[in-house]
């Protein structure tokens, strides 16, 4: 457990040295500009727009951190061969991976906490309200990012950085559209059934006309 904690701590420090936390400053500036701009453009509740933009920004920035850092940090260890130094010590591979994962998760969590604090501050200053729902949203985003970081770590171990990034982004997209895709399949199934029925009726039509022409009974069951 000490090995995992040591690797996690060092991963977190490495991320800090990479100035990842500066992203939150970018987010803060972006949010302040957007709040002013959209406050001018919208009619009605500015608070909704600010919160929507803030939450979407938090999701985007944390997703970028989770994807890029996960893939880069592990591949950098392998490319610079520093991983050999670690694995030569009494550290198991799963300990290395879990340590890396926890360190990355801590980086994401700190960034997320800072960005949420900025969003809360903006809402308090601009809107004079403290929305506890934002904390819940941030917690759920952290849960999502924990899952995404796990996938990113997996892909970082299995593939090259570029492919790992693409795969992780694909997981992110698929995760968000999964429900819609499922609904789409239901929709397609319905249409397929309708198309099948039409095809059946279309095939039966000439036969029905023939029967009618000969004074035969009309197969209303198929045509109706």
């Amino acid at each position: 457990m000490r090995a995992v904690a040591a690797i996690a701590r060092n991963t977190f420090r490495e991320a800090l040295r990479d100035r990842v936390l500066y992203l939150f400053l970018g987010f803060a500036v972006l949010l302040l500009v957007c709040s002013k701009l959209f406050g001018l453009l919208t009619v009605g509740d500015e608070g909704k727009v600010i919160k929507d933009f803030g939450l979407a920004g938090i999701q985007l920035f944390t997703m970028l951190i989770a994807v890029m850092m996960s893939v880069l940090l592990i591949s950098r260890e392998v490319d610079s061969r520093t991983v050999y130094n670690i694995l030569a010590k009494p550290v198991r591979r799963w300990q290395f991976l879990i340590g890396k994962y926890l360190g990355l998760l801590a980086t994401v969590a700190v960034n997320l906490a800072l960005m949420t604090a900025v969003l809360l501050l903006v809402t308090v200053v601009y809107l004079r309200e403290f929305d506890a729902g934002l904390l819940f949203a941030a917690a759920m985003t952290l849960l999502e990012m924990a899952l995404l970081t796990a996938f990113a770590t997996l892909f970082a171990v299995l593939t090259r950085p570029m492919l790992g990034t693409v795969f992780t982004l694909a997981v992110f997209v698929i995760g968000h559209v999964a429900e819609d895709i499922w609904l789409l399949t239901q929709h397609v199934e319905r249409h397929r059934a309708t198309a099948g029925r039409r095809a059946l009726c279309g095939a039966a039509q000439p036969r029905a006309l023939q029967l009618q022409g000969r004074g035969g009974a009309r197969p209303g069951g198929l045509l109706g």
Binding site: F38, L41, T42, V43, G44, D45, K48, V49, D52, F53, L55, A56, Q59, F172, V173, H176, V177, D180, L184
Partner: protein, 286 residues
């Protein structure tokens, strides 16, 4: 050196051509005659997919775009898709209060087309919002005031105000407005009116709310009493040729058991000029 100069000249020439062409293109009068921007609006399903879970953000962007787009009243044709646009926004975020409110406002103010169709679209949008926001009395109240002031449809206003009044958290003011409007259009029996106002009085906690509701309850009781006592006065005037000066006269003649009292326990009066019951409402407001 000469090659560099030639490259620089070529770049400058190309840049000049681009600037002149751009200015020329801008000078051409553009006409969005059929609101063609709107033809490229995707469906709610596609927008939901594209938003990657940020449907509220997508709704915000579309809402802000629609405000800018419909702020120019120069083209009537773009209003053909007005309901589609706001349906799209509210499909993306079914609890977007402002989209329902502003969408309905633009629909009700547009000049072109059939006003009856515009009104039907407003009703559909508000009904959609009221159904999508079951915990909100505010939207139903806004809809009711729009129906009352803009659409001039009192039946519709009463229906929406009733919805607002019945929702949890609705303030006493909303309940009073509903009762008042319902009284005004004679949309219920006097017994229903009395029962409603008694309920409002019972629910009210602030002194001002109790007094206001009591005032309405008083009026309902007065209307009820008027319905039974005015015919009596009319029949006496028809029989004797003059109106009694007070209810005490009728008591003395044995026509009434006692002087009729109003809801607050004060005696009613008689208006000799019209020969009708007079109610003197006295509510202590302090």
């Amino acid at each position: 050196m000469s090659r560099r100069l030639a490259t620089l000249a070529a770049v400058l020439a190309l840049g000049s051509i681009m600037v002149v062409s751009g200015l020329g293109l801008q000078a051409i009068p553009k006409q969005d005659v059929l609101g063609k921007q709107l033809l490229y609006l995707p469906t709610p399903e596609i927008l939901k997919l594209a938003s990657l879970g940020n449907q509220g953000l997508m709704a915000d962007l579309l809402y802000m775009w629609s405000i800018q787009y419909y702020s120019q009243f120069s083209l009537d044709e773009k209003f053909l898709y007005l309901e589609t646009v706001f349906n799209l926004v509210t499909d993306l975020d079914p609890r977007y209060f402002d989209a329902y409110r502003i969408g309905a406002l633009i629909m009700s103010l547009q000049k072109s087309g059939d006003p009856a169709q515009h009104k039907a679209a407003v009703v559909r949008l508000y009904d959609k919002g009221i159904a999508n926001m079951p915990g909100s009395w505010e939207l139903a109240e806004v809809a009711a005031w729009d129906a009352h002031l803009v659409l001039n449809d009192q039946e519709l206003a009463v229906r929406w105000m009733k919805t607002a009044a019945e929702r949890s958290g609705a303030p006493p003011e909303v309940k009073r407005v509903y009762g008042r409007w319902r009284d005004n259009i004679h949309g219920w029996t006097i017994d229903d009116s009395i029962a409603y106002w008694e309920g409002v009085v019972a629910e009210a906690t602030r002194k001002a709310d109790i007094n206001l509701a009591t005032s309405h309850l008083y009026d309902s009781y007065a209307t009820l009493h008027r319905r039974s006592l005015d015919p009596l006065l009319a029949s006496i005037r028809q029989r004797t040729g003059q109106c009694p000066e007070s209810w005490q006269e009728l008591v003395e003649q044995g026509l009434l058991a006692e002087v009729p009292l109003d809801h607050l326990g004060n005696p009613y009066g008689v208006d000799p000029s019209t020969c009708t019951l007079v109610a003197r409402k006295r509510i202590r407001w302090d």
